[in-house]
């Protein structure tokens, strides 16, 4: 699509803003961001400090007063909750989430790259229909297929096995990857491909040696977007796993059931659960909009 952000970080947008707009932007952004800040702050508190009002969110190390005697809005930070969460076996959940995300990303890559290439360069009849076929699978609500998926996975003895998540996350991210990669491939000058074809390179060599190196940033962004969705995924995790294959969101549920009243521990678990994706998203934020709009908005 022709729409493209005109300029980059320094440039885009209208002329230097009046002070009022700058202040409003900062204030509103801080309000919207506050729950995240408060979550992280709470993760660094003792349980007693976690429920102190007025809310405290400024860590003040080195002062050891009762939570209610601290200066306004401050608390004495501690890492004890993180230690507790790690002792409760958070690690394996984290590891399984990583396995599910990385393995599904690899399968997505293997399936999506050739497909996106063929569709971007219109190597098949009905390439448009194929693209829309993929997008329509993305819009199929998971609840529309969960019952047979559950039964089939059960019959395959894959219930509570990470392979079940690998299968579903691949299907979930495949359409996004194909649409995104296609939009990156289309930016490659046709001359490059023409030249390579004249040289007689076969199509897989062409893709792996010439095309992929040219779209490395796009490829990375595509993987990031898929990883974000897979890491945060909950519905298939809660439907298809129980203990042996349970991922990070499942840790959160188990924790709520047993110790939901301990907010500081809950916050520590939540902070560790969200952090990888938040950081990945910050890094990939320039490409986020392209991924979310399936390559339609660049």
């Amino acid at each position: 699509m022709a729409i493209r952000a005109v300029a980059r970080s320094a440039g885009p947008g209208i002329e230097r803003a009046p002070i009022g707009i700058a202040v409003a932007a900062w204030v509103i952004a801080l309000i919207g961001f506050f729950p995240v800040l408060y979550l992280v702050a709470t993760s660094l508190k003792t349980e007693a400090a976690a429920v102190v009002l007025p809310p405290t969110f400024i860590p003040l190390p080195g002062i050891n007063l009762a939570p209610t005697d601290m200066p306004p809005f401050t608390f004495a930070p501690t890492f004890e909750q993180y230690q507790t969460i790690l002792d409760r076996g958070f690690g394996p959940f984290f590891g399984r989430s990583l396995v599910a995300v990385i393995s599904s990303s690899i399968v997505v890559l293997i399936l999506a790259v050739p497909c996106a290439y063929a569709l971007a360069f219109r190597m098949v009849e009905g390439w448009q229909d194929t693209l829309f076929f993929f997008i329509s699978t993305k819009f199929l609500p998971p609840v529309g297929i969960i019952v047979p998926i559950y039964i089939i996975i059960n019959n395959l003895q894959l219930l509570d096995n990470i392979a079940a998540l690998l299968i579903m996350y691949t299907a979930m991210n495949l359409p996004i990857a194909i649409w995104m990669l296609r939009s990156f491939f289309e930016e490659i000058p046709p001359d490059v491909i023409q030249a390579a074809e004249v040289d007689g390179a076969n199509v897989m060599t062409l893709i792996t040696r010439i095309i992929l190196p040219m779209v490395t940033p796009g490829l990375t962004a595509t993987m990031f977007i898929g990883a974000i969705f897979a890491w945060n995924e909950f519905f298939f995790a809660v439907s298809l796993t129980a203990t042996k294959a349970a991922t990070v969101p499942m840790f959160m549920i188990g924790f709520v059931t047993s110790e939901g009243l301990f907010w500081a521990k809950l916050a520590a678990a939540g902070t560790m659960a969200m952090l990888p994706v938040v950081i990945a998203g910050w890094v990939a934020q320039r490409q986020l909009v392209r991924g979310l709009s399936l390559g339609a908005v660049k």
Binding site: A17, W26, Y38, F121, L131, F132, F134, I135, L292
Partner: protein, 308 residues
């Protein structure tokens, strides 16, 4: 889901296609992905349709019968939860999409100016979208909306308002709030791309002609953004219709059925009641509703990608 066949449009043949590439290479390249998607998404849906015609409860596994449309009839005429869930789904989806668009527009406008720390502001705005939904639901349920220790109620009492147990008294509003918090950044990103594709000259020229800020927004920015608004609202609807995580983590559909939406209903019927037939029937109906919305969405996506 059914393949949407779109009117094929004339596409200028790219010069390099046809010389050495050929259709059969292309087919080989797309086949693995297409087959995978068919097996994992399309065939299960066909099976869902078949299951929806069966009387089959996993608690009585040896008693499976063909039931025709009984499951659909039961859901529509006798199930006390289906219509409340349908209405909750519509309210939650439409309400959240509209509110997320309004906030997204505001955020985008605020980020589309130059001032110190704009990158930080933008990063703060998009963060809620990145937070694991399970975690954001828990954060809101406990630290923000708890009637005794929550920040929101603390602030309300500070200005003299009575304490409200949001998730018990206004569960749908509270859940919509959590959903909007998550999706407004998504709308912001799409609308911001739209705003940045509007040339500064046009806005400046209009301003030199002496129009007010509101007029500028109403007659220049908004019309330019209409396609982006359509794209955002349709993508948003397709995702928010499927909302499950925040309901599961906060209210479990309650109190009663007051915050049960269709996906959560299906989850309950399938995994608590273990009624395969009924869960499948509701699933089929959700898919049909989504197809109706999606057809419209696909038309817009194809119009956008055509301009590529």
């Amino acid at each position: 889901m059914a393949t949407m066949t779109l009117a094929r449009r004339r596409v200028p043949a790219l010069p390099f296609v046809g010389a050495l590439s050929n259709w059969s290479t292309g087919k080989t390249l797309i086949a693995p992905a297409v087959i995978y998607a068919i097996i994992v998404t399309q065939l299960p849906f066909v099976v869902t349709v078949w299951y929806s015609l069966l009387r089959w409860n996993l608690l009585r596994p040896d008693n499976v019968q063909f039931a025709g449309l009984d499951n659909y009839l039961f859901v529509i005429t006798a199930d006390p939860v289906f219509f409340p869930a349908l209405i909750n789904t519509l309210i939650l989806t439409v309400g959240s999409v509209v509110a997320a668009l309004v906030f997204g527009m505001l955020f985008a406008e605020l980020v589309n100016h130059r001032y110190p720390g704009r990158g930080v502001v933008r990063t703060m705005f998009i963060t809620p979208f990145l937070i694991m939904p399970v975690v954001s639901a828990l954060t809101w349920k406990n630290m923000m909306l708890n009637p005794v220790f929550g920040v929101v109620d603390y602030l309300m009492q500070l200005v003299g308002l009575p304490a409200v147990d949001w998730l018990a008294q206004f569960p749908l509003v509270a859940i919509a709030g959590i959903v909007v918090w998550r999706w407004a950044p998504f709308m912001m990103l799409i609308l911001l791309a739209g705003m940045q594709s509007l040339s500064d000259e046009i806005r400046e020229a209009a301003r030199m002609d002496g129009i007010s800020g509101i007029q500028e927004f109403r007659f220049i920015v908004l019309p330019h953004l209409s396609r982006f608004i359509q794209l955002g609202s349709l993508l948003g609807s397709v995702y928010i219709v499927q909302e499950f995580d925040s309901i599961y983590m906060t209210t479990q559909g309650g109190p009663g059925t007051s915050s049960t939406n269709l996906p959560f209903l299906i989850y309950q019927v399938a995994f608590a009641k273990k009624d395969v037939g009924e869960a499948s029937a509701v699933g089929v109906m959700v898919v049909i509703l989504t197809i109706i919305a999606t057809r419209y969405l696909l038309r817009i996506l194809s119009r956008l990608s055509e301009e590529a």
